[in-house]
Every structure is written in C-alpha cells, then in structure tokens.
Symmetry: C2
Subunit: 305 residues, 2 copies
C-alpha cells in the first residue's frame, strides 16, 4: 500500500519582521502574537523560482533518506505561482532534478487545500498505474503576488516548499478523504492583475463555519470518533483560525497545534512541514485539513500502516 | 467501473483563415493543406474567459445527455491558460455551473498531453474516493498567448473546450497508460512574458522520435498488437506529425485520422473532440496519445466495457 515515507522541506532564510511593521499597519504585539500568530514571514530571494524552492526541498529530503532518481516514476507540483504558465513547473523541475524520461509529471493548481487534495489525487494516480515511488511537491511563494502595503496579506504569507515521498514503504497511510468547494465565493481570495486580494473576515468566517463540520465528517467517514484522533494538523492560516476550529470541534488546543510563528502561512506547504516532524512520532491517527483559495477545502485521515 | 459516458465540446465560431495570410507568411496552399493541415483556426471572442468556454462545452454535453448537477462529485479543468492564477479555474467554473458544495474541484496544468494524463488521474481519484460522476474539462485557449506575427504558432493553434463525463455507466473504459517527460527540453515550447514560443522543428523531431515507440509500448502493455487496434487518436498537432507517426508505427493512415483542418490544434481538447464522434462508433480498441508542452506525453487504451 502506498503512503508517506518521508518529507523534506525548505524555508528560505530571508525574513520580514512584523514587529518592524507595527506603526505602518497600526498593529500591536497582541495582534502579532495572538491573532495572526506570525512574528515574521519567510521570504525567498527574488531570483529563486518556484522550481528552485522545490529543488531545495528535495535536497532536504535526500539528507533524510537515500533516493535513486531512477526509481522516481511520478512527480507532481502543487502551485498557483508556477515559474511560468507554460510549461508546467513539474516539467522544469524534472529537468533540474534530472529525472528519468519515464517519470510522469504534472502540476495541480490549488491553494491552501492543495496538499490534502494532492495526497489523494497523487496516491490514486500512482496506485492505478502500478507506480511505487513518487514525489509530491508543494511550493506557492506568495511573495510573488502580495502587496507589501496590504495588511491583510503581507503580514501573513511566507515562502516555503515541501516534498513528500510517496512509496510502498510508508510511515503513514491515508484513510478516507472529504472535499468541498464554494466556487461562488471565489472572489474572497483572488489574484487581480498579479496582486493577491483577500477578504480576511469572509475567509475566516468560511473556515470557522465549514471546517469543524467537515472534520467531524471525515472522522466519521473513517469510523472513528474525535477522541480517537491523536492529532489534528490544520492548515496554518493564522493562529486565531486554528484555535477557533479546535474550540468549535471541540478538541483540546494542544491536539491542534499552531506552529508557524516564525515563517507564516506557507499555503499548501504548511501541512507537510508540520507533518515532517510527526512522521516518526507517536500519533497513530492524524487528521489533516486544508482550506482556502477557491474557496476550497479537503480533509483526510493518516494512520500507521 | 468508471469510464467515459459522454463528451461535449465547444468550438467558437470565430475563424482566422490561413489562406488570407499566405502573403504575410510566404506560405502556399500545399503548406496549408498538406503540411500543417490547418485552413483556418478557431478564435474565441476577447471577452470569453477559459471558464466561459467550459460552460459552453457543458451546455453541449447537456444537449446530449441529462445531468443532475447534484450528482456531480468531482470536476477537473486541464489548462495552462486559466482565467487567472488564483483561484483555479475549476473553482470559478464551479460557481458558474452552480455545482454542489460537496464537489471536489482542482485544475491540472498540462498542455497537449493533458487529456490523456487527466483521464488517468481523474478516474483514479474518483475511484479511490468512491465517486460515480465527474466532469473532466479541457480548455486551453492559445489565442491568449500566440503572437499573430509568429508563423510557428498563429497558423496552428485554435481555441476550443471539451468536457468528458466520467461515470459508472461508461461507453469506453481505459486500460493501461504510459507517461513520459523530457523536462530538459522544456524551452522548446514555452511562454515568455505571456507570449508563446515554439521551436517547431525540435517539437516535431521529439514527437516523431518518441511517440511511435511509446504507442508500441502502450499497446504491448495492454497485451495487444498494433493490428488489434481499430483506431489511433493522436493529438492533432499538425497533419504532418499525425501522418509521420502513423507511417512510423506503421499503421494505415486512415486508422490514425487527421481531422482538424477547420479549427486547428486545440491543445488538450483535440482528443476529446475527436473521441466524441467515436463514442457510439464501431471501434472496439482505441489508442489515444497526447504530446507537447513539457516536453510531455501520455498514451492510453480505451476499450468497450
């Protein structure tokens, strides 16, 4: 059975401190530490392309586990900030990593729900085609599109990338998933002429309303109860949304950690970055949940094989 | 078992005649009719977005078969010319079609290999999640990115869209697929600052070299021989590439039809548009093969359930 064997990631060293922007945006320490929960956002260098972020995540993966490039049968890149629209970033990355010609490559365009969706999509694709080793990249550098004067976005989003090795020697395998879309609300989180706009209150309300119910549904779909879930890894949209969802479920806040104080919301990479630390941990049943751009969401269960 | 139940498509009525551009590009009737095989290219209106093309393909699908929107559990849009980068076009389309909130939506970024890839990806995703009805859209309007003064692209590419209804009541089901990528050659077909560049000779040579062998492999992988294949539906890149692949296989040219004289190469929509006419036809074993941007390719077998 296919599942997650290892995860590598890359958080660029560049940072913009939100403490340095208190006057500009009229915010205080409480807002920084307790509401958004982002002290600083990570920032790639201007000449680092999306595929370059992926290359660095892959280097981190190879520090953790030996990989023969010839074994890689498939690769997907989840991004809405590709190197360019044509070709897909996975093709460019395929060249940079010198993967074999027989490697299937495609991009998935999704935002903060992207990792959970892609985990289901990519594992299903690999299984259907008899593949045993594949790479699932997430890399969505929002510094390409955030307006540094827009409080709703520039204080929140950080750059990062992650790569999840899917193989037949998994540490975690997935159970049932749930998915959803409210396309009629897509204008609440949208890129206009290359600049990101987010209606923060509307996106918060969407997540606070839809996600707790969706998580209860995915737990039930896996024939479990909330009490049987050891860990809820929620998309790190902000500290307040993670806490709100935990409280509404309800589950203890320490079972639904918020952990991205020092680099921010890295879109589809928040979940694999959190998950990397849990792969060899004690949690047996882990719920993962992503939500955002679309508006779109997905939840899934990860368990020990 | 999931498979293709019906296909709708939309080819905009707008046309640009290549006969009217003979002087501008120094081409003759032989070049138009026998080499590229494109007498005119289809052209969407400037205010038609990619999602609008999808809406019109869906209207055509509903002319052919009754669809209850509430039954649609998943939707994918294959495009590299989305409405915008954020959100994904499938989210916008979800809103325009008023699909249910429980519908999973995502975009796949692939070019001319996109339909074959997406057929495998989407069917596998639906099957893994127990879904019975989904919509696979292809819509890649290259008029957004072609330079009207670039002979290598403007004479070839036409606008269109298609939607393939995947369901548990299929007319055609898929067998084994093959996939490949030569990412190191991605610059041969690339969008620079919003304008498409194609090294026509290099892309032709790639397809002429790689595709016949790939098709032989996919046929063997399905435990069939070339003689047992009734129809080879090849991506309609140009008349000369379709004929070259047919001759190299070798198979009779009438088994590998070229049919896009009057609207051109519609990228990932060429195959579903051809396939729409074959769904109720006599062909029992059909090979489909897409190739292009990436450089990327995919082949698959379709057969009667």
């Amino acid at each position: 059975m296919l599942g997650i064997e290892e995860i590598g990631y890359y958080i660029p060293q560049g940072r913009i401190s939100n403490y340095d922007r208190k006057t500009q945006f009229g915010i205080d320490d409480h807002f920084i530490e307790e509401k958004i929960g982002v002290r600083q956002v990570s920032l790639k260098s201007p000449d680092e392309e999306t595929s370059d972020l992926c290359v660095k995540a892959f280097a981190n993966l190879r520090d953790k586990i030996a990989i023969d490039l010839n074994d890689i049968e498939a690769m997907v890149v989840v991004t809405q900030n590709p190197d360019r629209n044509i070709p897909h970033t996975s093709a460019i990355l395929h060249g940079k990593l010198a993967l074999p010609n027989r490697c299937a490559c495609f991009d998935i365009s999704l935002g903060c729900s992207g990792f959970v969706y892609a985990l289901s999509i990519f594992q299903a694709f690999m299984a259907a085609n008899g593949m045993k080793k594949g790479l699932l990249f997430t890399a969505d550098p929002y510094s390409k599109i955030t307006d540094p004067n827009d409080k709703n976005t520039t204080l929140l989003f950080g750059d990062a990338s992650a790569v999840t090795l899917i193989s037949d020697q998994p540490k975690l395998v997935s159970g049932a998933f749930t998915f959803g879309t409210i396309g009629a609300e897509h204008e609440k989180l949208i890129c206009n002429d290359g600049v990101l706009f987010m209606h923060g209150r509307a996106v918060f309300n969407f997540a606070a309303k839809v996600i707790p119910d969706d998580i209860r549904q995915v737990v039930a779909k896996n024939a479990l109860t909330l009490e049987q879930i050891d860990l809820f890894l929620l998309h790190q949209g902000s500290k307040i949304i993670v806490e709100t969802i935990a409280d509404k479920l309800p589950v203890p806040r320490d079972k639904a950690p918020y952990a991205t104080y020092d680099y921010g919301n890295t879109v589809s990479s928040t979940l694999p970055i959190l998950l990397a630390e849990e792969l060899s941990g004690n949690a047996r049943n882990i719920v993962i949940c992503g939500f955002g751009v679309g508006l779109s969401w997905a939840s899934g269960l990860l368990k020990r094989p």
